[in-house]
Amino acid sequence: MTPPDYEYLRKLFKDHSGLDLSSDKQYLIESRLLPLARKCGLAGIPDLIAKIRSGSTQHIVQAVEAMTTNETFFFRDKVPFDHFRDTIMPELLKARAARRALRIWCAAGSTGQEPYSLAMCLKEMGAALAGWRVEIIATDLSQEVLEKSKAGIYSQFEVQRGLPIQMLVKYFKQSGEFWQITPELRSMIQHRQLNLLHDFSQLGSFDVVFCRNVLIYFDQDTKINVFNRLARLMDGDGFLVLGAAETVVGLTDTFKPVPDRRGLYRPNGLRAGAGAMPRAAAVAAGR
């Protein structure tokens, strides 16, 4: 790949997905785009780049999808799901006792492992949630991974990474070499295609937002902008869950870390219903 090609693709991915590649990620682009080139019946990456440069929307969309990472497994990192069970849900069961309704957003739902892991956590809580209405909305940039999530079909390899065997037995049906999430669990998830760079206020309010391992690919201004728009969808007693390598600290004060709960944050009560748009959001929104 020539340096001008690399710069061209960097800018393309940045503009379309917010993906912010540093100058040394040629290997990443090559490893993702070569399989795509072959899938498209092209000889190699140069041909694919030619298609992209000629403005082929179809190729641009597929390239952007191929670059957004979908590496995920059930109960990934485990700790966030412990937080969900031991901290988030007990607090919200009290705080929302009158309403008996909860809305959860998986902002990078990917191929479904995270939303289904949450659905399994909820099922494991059993009677504590009787009479409650719990919505899980899974969004992703990529329509392709959302389709996989909706189908809820996973390979033997995928169901063995992070998923306890008891959960596999309880919440999956075996079909040949594949395992499919039970219809009951699948019906708990609503899927929507969504680009976090765009307005997402139409999704409504949330009590819990899982936004893990997606903002790491964004530059600082974009991160701040997303955090501030997230805060506007959440009440002060809601919870934001970030990936292990992510933080709001030093970026925005719209969220504050929960002490001793790695990756867990709460809004700072700056919900902009009263028009109190944080300064950083105003700057980023003008981009």
Partner: protein, 129 residues
């Protein structure tokens, strides 16, 4: 150092498992069938057992049943590792006291994930490659 007993009639599988487990910091002993494994457990209970299902002399399921009846036999974490990938086999194994279940083919990531799941290794300590 924790000990893991690897029970499999395939020397190749035992070798692969040994390499993975030693990389995770386990001391490994091997047995080629359930009967040999049971004798090893009577001498000294391991912390973990990685257990094939189909083997000559005594299969993995029978070994598990016998192990759980031994004094101290409730202690080892038993992780099946077998080509018996049907839900019926998995359910039987869990009822008989298996702690986890790996469907072959397996790799290091799966072994690490399953051993974390049953508390044999810590979450935050990634195994050496």
């Amino acid at each position: 150092m924790k000990t893991c007993l690897v029970v499999d009639d395939s020397g190749v599988v035992r070798k692969i498992a040994r390499r993975i487990l030693e990389g995770m910091g386990f001391s490994v002993i091997e047995a080629e069938d359930g009967a040999v494994a049971l004798e090893a457990c009577k001498r000294a209970m391991p912390e973990a057992v990685l257990l094939d299902w189909n083997m000559p002399v005594m299969d993995g399921f029978e070994f598990l049943v016998q192990l759980r009846r031994l004094p101290g036999g409730d202690q080892p974490k038993v992780v099946f590792c077998t080509t018996e990938n049907g839900i019926d086999h998995i359910s039987r194994a869990l009822h008989a006291g298996a702690n986890e279940y790996i469907m072959k083919p397996f790799d290091k990531d799966i072994v690490v994930a399953k051993f974390q799941e049953v508390g044999l290794i810590a979450l935050d300590v990634p195994a050496e490659a």
